[in-house]
Structures are given as C-alpha cells and as structure tokens.
C-alpha cells in the first residue's frame, strides 16, 4: 500500500530503489533486514532477551547471598555441576557476577539501548530514509547477535564461563590455573567482546555519518532533538573508546595463548614459578578503563537524551536550557576521556596521577548537575501527563540524583581508599548507570512503542510495572550503601566467614526478596510488550502530540520512512505550549509563517527578514490576548 504511495509522489530516480524492495522475503524482511526500523526492533528484542537472562543470573546470586547456608535442590537440577548439593559453587558464583555485569553493561545497556534507539530515531527524527550504510547496519546487528550467542555459549563449556569479574583484570583472567573460569570460558568471553566491539564500531560510525550527512532540509545541528545529540555524542565516544578495549583484549589474548608478558610479571601460581617477566597488570587496567569510563557515559547519555525528549513532551513544556543541555552533553563527552584513573586510585598507580584524576572526575559532576537542574526546571510549571514513559523518565532523574551524589564520595581519591570495591560502589553504579539507564531504556520503549509496532502498550500495566520496579530498585540498592560503609567487599560469595559481616545477613535476605519482587514485576512488562505487539490498541499517527519528525511518518512501516518528499524542518523541536498558539504543540514541520500569532523575536535570531516580517505582523495585529 504505502510503497504504491511512493510511486505516486516520488521522483523518478527513486523508483528503482523501491522496486527492489517489492521482493521482500521473510529472510530479507525479518532476518537480514537492512531497514533501520527492523534492525532497531532486532536490537531491542535481543537486548530484552539478554536483560532477562542477566536478571535471572542476578537472582541466582542474590539467593546465594541471602541464604549462604541453605541448600536448594532445584539449583542442582537446573545447574548441575555448578551447584553441587543444591549450593552454588564459589567459582560459579563469580561467573554469575561476571556474566551478569558483562551482559548488562555491554549487551543490554550499550547495544540494547543505543542499538535500538539510535537505529530507530536517528533517521526518523532527522528526516532520512535510512542509515548512511544500511548494509553495515545489518552487519552491526549480526555481529552483536553472534557475540551474544558466544557469550551465552560460554555457560556450556566444562569449566564454566569467565569469572574474573566484568573488568577481567589479569593476571586472574590470564592464568587458567588461577581459577576455572579463566580457561575456555575466558577465551569465549574475549572472542565475544571482540565481535561486540566490531558491532558497536559499525553502528557508531553509521550513526555519526548519518547525523552529519543525512539531515533533512532545515534540520541544522541546533534544531536536532536532544535524543539525537545524545546518540551522536555517544557514538563518537564509542568510536573513540572501544578500539582501546580491543587493543587491551588482543594483548590479553596474546598473554593467554602466545606466551607474551604484556600484563604479567613475577608470578608464582600454586607454588609453580611462571616465566613471565616485565609486564604490568596495571597496564591492562589503564586500557580497560580508558574504554570503561567512557562506557558508563555511553550507557547513560542515550538514556538522558531519551528522558529529555520524554520529559519535555509530557510536561508540555520546552526542555529548559536546550543549549546548556547540549553543552553539558559535549562537556561530559570530552571529560569522560580523562577521568578513567578514578577506578584505579588504590591500584598502586602513582598517587600524584590519582590526584589529577580526582580533579577531572569532580569537574565532570558539574555538567551532570546542570542536566539534573534543567530537568527539574522543565517539570516546574509544566502540565505533566503521566504516561508510563514519563514515569520512567522521572524515575531516571531520581536515580541519577541518588547515584550521582555518591559519586562525589567515590571520585574523591582520599575517601575512595576505604570505599573502593565495597558495596558502596555497587550501590552507586547500580543506581546511577544501572537503574537510571534501564529506566531510560524502558521509558524509550513505552514512548516509541507506537512508532515501532503501530500499537499502544497498556498504560495501567505500565504503571504497575513502574511502581514495583522503582520501589524495588531503591529497596535493593539503598541499604547496600551502609554495607559498603561497614567495609563489606563486593564479590564475596558468602558473608558467613566474618563475624562482623554477619550482621548484614538479614539485610541480604531483605535485598534478595526486593530483587525477586522487581524481577517478577518485569513479567508485567514482558507480557505487556509481547501482547501489545499483536493485540495492543491501534495507535494514531502522533499519539503523544509530539513535535519531532518521527511522528509525521505514516504508521505503517516501509523502507524509506516517508511517502513522497521528506518533510522540511523549520523550527526547534520543543515548541510546546507556546503562548498565542491554539494547540499546546507545534511540530517541527510547521513553518513560522503559519504561526504568526505565537512567534517570538527569539525565533528569528539570525534572520533579519523574518524579524521584520514579525514586526510588521505585530503592527497589523495589535496584541489582544496577551494583555488579559
């Protein structure tokens, strides 16, 4: 149907292109699709699947932490040798922690978040027919998919998956003798990550080139929605930082398999003297965190972009301080490259270096604070519609504050001495990048579901999902701060060996049940999501009365997004509740000439003829409404 429409309106040279897509088979439409919207859905559903798996892993280790002395025969049935006599094996516990972290950080919050929403929104919000390179885009997904399969496949090797923590510090990860997970499991982890980085680079290069080259007429950089700014800067960050991880990983592969000593020196394992000499384990940490720290901004920035858009749309108010929002994103992007050392204050790195990294780290708190205040100012005197997306966006801001503030403690090298690697850190990053980013992702799913599937998700189930998850997340992570302040280290298999830690066992039981409650709450989302794909209420073209370009595209999908010409953009995306206009939104495609009654001098900053026209119009139509 819609492709016919293209024939009616489109210029002749597009015809070949469209003819080609008439022969969509199942394989080219759903599997090896090159359409950015389909690839976005592929990323989303793979991301959700990975998130569910990683969440189940977390429930498993939470059960161990809550009941360290209790046997669960079911675990042995499910996990076999990894849970002899119904109790998790200590090494497998570490595997669970490692794979949970890896999947959540990379596969869910990087690929699942950026992959989904950059793919969906960059062409649609910029007015492009597809990505700069649809083929590369398809490859990006399939590399990601292969990486996911390999990562999960590592559960099926004899000695179990990688277990040196998601940061895989050598020598632990480099010496198969040091722990079972550093055998084949680690090899698979490394292979999987190399593929993952390849995928993420292909995606990133595509996003950057699309944003720079394929914007529709009138869409200059300062008219782009904040989502696009966030995705754009995230992609730049990824393209610059991920290769360093590959470098680190390749050197680790060399150390593991080819006998080099990049990271290894003076090692005696189980009484056996190893031949490695002259390497430095700290080198790996530098390479890892050179990616690792930008990585947390790769995770949080798209979520911030998404929530900016959602908060503005649902407050029916322009985002407060659009320019400040963009500049703080740019500030975060630049600064995030020079703060990685704050993960390494107590590694034995030169203390002076630690001092320098402390200064840069605390500077990065300034743009983050500005963003938070701007969100609050956007809500102020708004007309807030509580869609589930809006609830999740508000939840994100709450988590971002709570988790961000504890960053001020950890970013301070002196305070970090006693907090490093304790549960305080666990609480901090689960709030600020874990919960906040996943809330951004969920907000995005609720908000753009109609765009993706042409149907609406159920609002009431969305409310239930939000409240259970929001409360659950706070119940899980808030008490962890105090465990950290009591000097309880993370990645401990059981607290039973220390008299002083036993006082936290009851808190652990509480946290575990809160985690299980939040996990069960996700079923409300999963049901809502999959049910609504097929049976949800049909959506209208612009269900949220939003200004951005994606809502001018027809509901039904086809490769090319718009029948006929791509709409032209005339204004910024946040003209909500502009005084003098009869509706509370003015889409970007509406020219100023049609909204004379609401135009402001500010709209014509670099446009003298426009300003003159406005002055003339005001002369001709003396103000009536504004006076009363």
């Amino acid at each position: 149907m819609s492709t016919l429409a293209v024939h009616d309106h489109d210029v002749a040279h597009h015809n070949d292109h469209d003819e080609h897509h008439h022969q969509d088979t199942f394989l080219t439409k759903y599997i090896f699709s090159q359409d950015h919207k389909m690839i976005a859905k592929q990323f989303l559903i793979t991301g959700i699947t990975m998130a569910v798996i990683a969440m189940i892993l977390s429930v498993l280790f939470r059960i161990q932490l809550a009941y360290p002395d209790k046997a669960f025969p079911l675990l042995e049935t499910l996990l076999g040798r990894f849970a002899p006599q119904g109790r998790l094996d200590p090494n497998f516990y570490l595997s669970l922690v490692t794979i949970h972290g890896t999947i959540m950080v990379f596969f869910v919050l990087t690929a699942g978040l950026s992959g989904t929403f950059s793919n969906l929104l960059i062409p649609l919000q910029l007015g492009a027919r597809d990505m700069a390179s649809p083929f590369l885009n398809m490859l990006s997904y399939w590399f990601f998919f292969t990486a996911s399969v390999i990562m999960l496949g590592s559960f099926f090797v004899t000695k179990g998956p990688a277990s040196a923590g998601w940061t895989i510090y050598p020598p632990l990860s480099a010496l198969p003798k040091a722990m079972p997970g550093s055998g084949e499991g680690m090899t698979l982890w490394l292979i999987s990550m190399v593929l993952f980085v390849a995928s993420s680079l292909m995606g990133g290069i595509n996003y950057v080139s699309t944003v720079l080259n394929m914007r529709t007429k009138g869409m200059d950089l300062w008219k782009m929605p904040l989502t696009i700014w966030a995705f754009f800067l995230t992609a730049i960050l990824g393209v610059l930082a991920f290769p360093v991880l590959v470098a680190g990983v390749v050197l680790l592969i060399f150390d593991r398999s080819f006998g080099t000593s990049f990271y290894l020196s003076e090692i005696v394992v189980n009484g056996q003297i190893m031949p490695y000499e002259g390497g430095s384990p700290i080198l790996f940490q530098h390479l890892f965190w050179f990616l690792g720290h930008p990585e947390v901004y790769i995770v949080i920035m798209p979520a911030l972009g998404i929530s900016s858009e959602i908060i503005s749309t649902n407050s029916r108010k322009p985002i407060f301080g659009y320019h400040a929002m963009v500049y703080s994103l740019i500030g975060i992007t630049v600064l995030s490259f020079i703060v990685w050392g704050h993960h390494m204050f107590v590694t034995g790195m030169n203390p002076f270096l630690g001092g320098v990294f402390m200064i840069t780290t605390l500077i990065i708190a300034v743009p983050s604070a500005v963003k938070t205040f701007n969100y609050l100012a956007t809500l102020w005197r708004g007309n807030i519609r509580f869609t589930p997306a809006m609830l999740f966006a508000i939840g994100l801001v709450s988590f971002f504050i709570s988790g961000g503030l504890t960053g001020i403690f950890l970013g301070n090298a002196a305070l970090d001495i006693n907090l490093h690697d304790t549960y305080f850190v666990v609480a901090h990053f689960h709030l600020v990048m874990g919960s906040a980013a996943i809330f951004g992702m969920l907000a995005g799913v609720y908000h753009w579901f109609p765009k993706m599937f042409g149907r609406l998700m159920d609002e009431k189930l969305g409310y239930l999902h939000f409240w259970l998850t929001f409360i659950g997340a706070y119940l899980v992570f808030f008490p962890m701060h105090f465990m950290g302040l009591d000097g309880v280290p993370r990645r401990y298999y059981a607290f039973t060996e220390f008299e002083s830690m036993k006082q936290w066992l009851s808190v652990n039981v509480f946290i575990t049940w809160a985690a299980i409650m939040s996990a069960v709450a996700q079923l409300a989302f999963l049901f809502n999501f999959f049910y609504s794909i097929f049976f949800g209420k049909k959506t209208t073209q612009n269900p949220w009365n939003s200004n951005t370009l994606e809502w001018t595209a027809p509901i039904e999908h086809f490769h090319g997004n718009w029948p006929g010409e791509i709409p032209t953009v005339y204004r910024w995306p946040y003209d909500y509740s502009k005084p003098g206009h009869h509706e509370d939104f003015i889409p970007q495609t509406v020219p100023f000439s049609q909204t004379m009654s609401s135009n402001l001098p500010h709209d014509f900053e670099d446009n003298e003829t426009g300003l003159e026209a406005l002055a003339q119009w005001h002369k001709a139509n003396p103000v009536k409404e504004e006076v009363k």
């Binding site: 025969p73 079911l74 200590p90 090494n91 570490l94 040196a164 020598p171 040091a178 020196s265 090692i267 005696v268 394992v269 003297i273 384990p281 407050s315 108010k317 407060f320 301080g321 107590v346 034995g348 203390p351 002076f352 200064i359 605390l362 708190a365 604070a369 500005v370 609050l376 809500l379 005197r381 708004g382 007309n383 807030i384 519609r385 509580f386 609830l391 508000i394 801001v397 504050i401 503030l405 403690f409 301070n412 002196a414 006693n418 690697d421 009431k460 929001f470 706070y474 808030f478 000097g487 280290p489 401990y492 060996e497 936290w504 808190v507 509480f510 049940w513 069960v520 509740s577 005084p579």
Partner: protein
Amino acid sequence: MAFKKLINFKTLSAILASIFLFASTVIAQDAGATTTPATDDAANATMWTGVGYYVLLFLLVAVIVGIVGKIFRVYDLTSQIQGKKGMNWNNIMGVCFIVFLIAGSYGAYWSFVEQGSHILPAAASIHGVKLDNMFMVTFGITVIVFFLTQIALFGFSYLYRGSDKRKAYFYPHNNTIEKIWTVIPAIVLTILVITGFFTWSEITNTTDAKGEPASINIDVTGHQFAWEIRYPGKDGKLGVKNYRLVTGLNKLGVNFQDKNSFDDLIADTLVLPVNKSVRLNILAQDVIHSVYMPHFRVQLNAVPGLPTFFKFTPTITTAEMRTKLDNATFEYLLYCNKICGGGHYNMKKVVRVVSEAEYQDWLSKQKPYLNDQLRKELKMADNGQTKGIVQNRLALNN
C-alpha cells in the same frame, strides 16, 4: 543497643519475607523430615511441589492483578456511561509520587539511623580521622542536595500534574539561573577537590621525614588464598626477595645472599604497636589482591610484579576498641578486597594493635624465617645452584 536494633530490623524484614516464605518453610520442614530416609524420587517430588507452590502463588497474584485491572476498567466504563469523567490517572500518579516522597524520605531517614548505626566505628588511625571528617562534610552537603532535589522532583510532579484546563508555562531558558546553578556546584566541588587533593597527597606521601623515627617495615604478601607476613629482625631491615627462589619452604622467595634476611621473622598475626608509624610493603605472588583494613581506613592493591606500600599510624589498641564497642571478641581484620578467585571471600588475617611493651614481647617470641629445614634445603641447593636455575629456565620456556 545495636543488637536490639538488629533484632528489630530482622523481624521487620522477616515479616516481609514471610509473606512469601511462610508456606514454603512448612514444605521445607516436611522435606527435611522426609528426605533423610527417603529416596531421590521423594526428594525430587518435594522439590517440585515447592516449585509448583511458587508458580501457583505467582499465578494467583497475576490473576488478582488481572481482576483488579478489570475492576478499574469496568468502573471507568460505567462512570463514562453515566456521563462522569473516568478515573483521573494523572491525579492518581501525582498523589503516588507524593506518597512515595514521604514514605521514601522516612525510609531514607530510617536507613540512616538504623543501618547507619551498623557501619564502621570511628577510624583507628591518624589519617583515618581526617578521612572521617571529610566524609562527614561530603555527606552533609550531598544529603542536603539529595533531599532538596528529590523533594523538587516529586513535588513538581505532584503540583504540576496534568489537567485539560491548564497550559504549561512556556519557559525555554533563563541564562542567569543556569549560570547560578553551574557556578554553585562548581564552587562546592572545587572546595571538596582541593581538600581532597591535599588529604590524599598527605596520606600517600609516604617517605619518612627527616628526624622522624623510621617506620616499622612489614611485608604483607598475598597469594591464593592467604596472606604471609614477614617482620624484619633486630636490624629493622627486610631481606630482598626474588620470585624465582620460591620453594615449598621458602614461600616468599627470600634471597639469603642478602644478609638482612637472616634475622627476618615470620608471623601468623599482624601485630602492630600503637601510635607507631607502620609501613606495610604490599606484594602479591599470583593474581591481584587488595590489602583492606577498613578500621584503619587502609586499602591498597597487591599487584604481582609491582610492589606497593601504605604508611599509617594505628591509634587505638585492640583492647581499647573492645571496650569501646562493648564486644569482647572484637578483632581488627585485614582482608582481600579484589576479586582473586574462588576463595576470595575468605582471605582474612587478624590484626592486633598492642602497647609497645606487648609488641616487643610478642616480637621476641616469633619464629625466624630462616628455620633449620630451610637451612638444610639451601645447603643442598647451594651445590648445584647455578645448574639448577639454568635447567629451570629451560623447563619454563617450554
């Protein structure tokens, strides 16, 4: 007192957990009674009934949620038929946010008071006291910001909840306000950074100042999954080490060509004299470990191939701390705080801070590192030493 609170908290969380757990414990007890004599099949059966119970419980909750949803729907539709407005979800959600704000603020306060009473006691070292002060300042600032911003967030959500009658206030930017809230955090953070930087430099500047009595040098070496402690003898100097010399008896690879090593001592416990500067030389043999002594606010990673050290001065003896905490079995601990393998969770060493006299007494009772067995081994090795090392190298290169 603290224990009473603990019990309170236990009962509270138990009430929450028992909602889910009640029947399952009954089943578990049954299972416990039956499994001892019963076969695997019976154990399996009870296990699956346990699982089935949870599945049923979940289904029940799901059905209830479904029914409640339908009731809302019916209520909404009937009120629409009667010409009234349906449920105003904007108002409901706005109120929910206010309720969350109040309950959450109380919860946060409760957490600070209850769980906050279980955190570490005041620092037992000189630099630790400075850290504690800095922590309190940072805590004061952040907790104010925390409550103000959360109140603003949820308060605005409630106050400006949507209504068809209102229009939002078009307010795209205000440069003055933006400048203010860029500059204020910047100033506050600058103050924190500067004090933090100086404290950090002071703690990590570990060379002994001139005229100051030399710190006591102690080696702490981590390996999977224990710590080895080596004290210098009367000379106050530790002998050099070489990892290639590690054997079953010479666990640390001490090089006995260095005369300083002859009187080195080996110890089970890290005993420290109070109010004396101590320099811990931190080493690792296999993977990265981390020396963590939270009561002294001491932490530094033990990295193989990269010796590090941490200098600090303990100020409170174990005995004093015991009376202070009213806990007769209290011990300072050193434990591993960097993931190092399957036994990571149980890598502790007791640290005891004692008076100078007790320390000297204890020191005199410690065994020398160079014991008779080791002497014998070294004598035997001495004959074919050079040859041995060459062979060793060849073997390792394979």
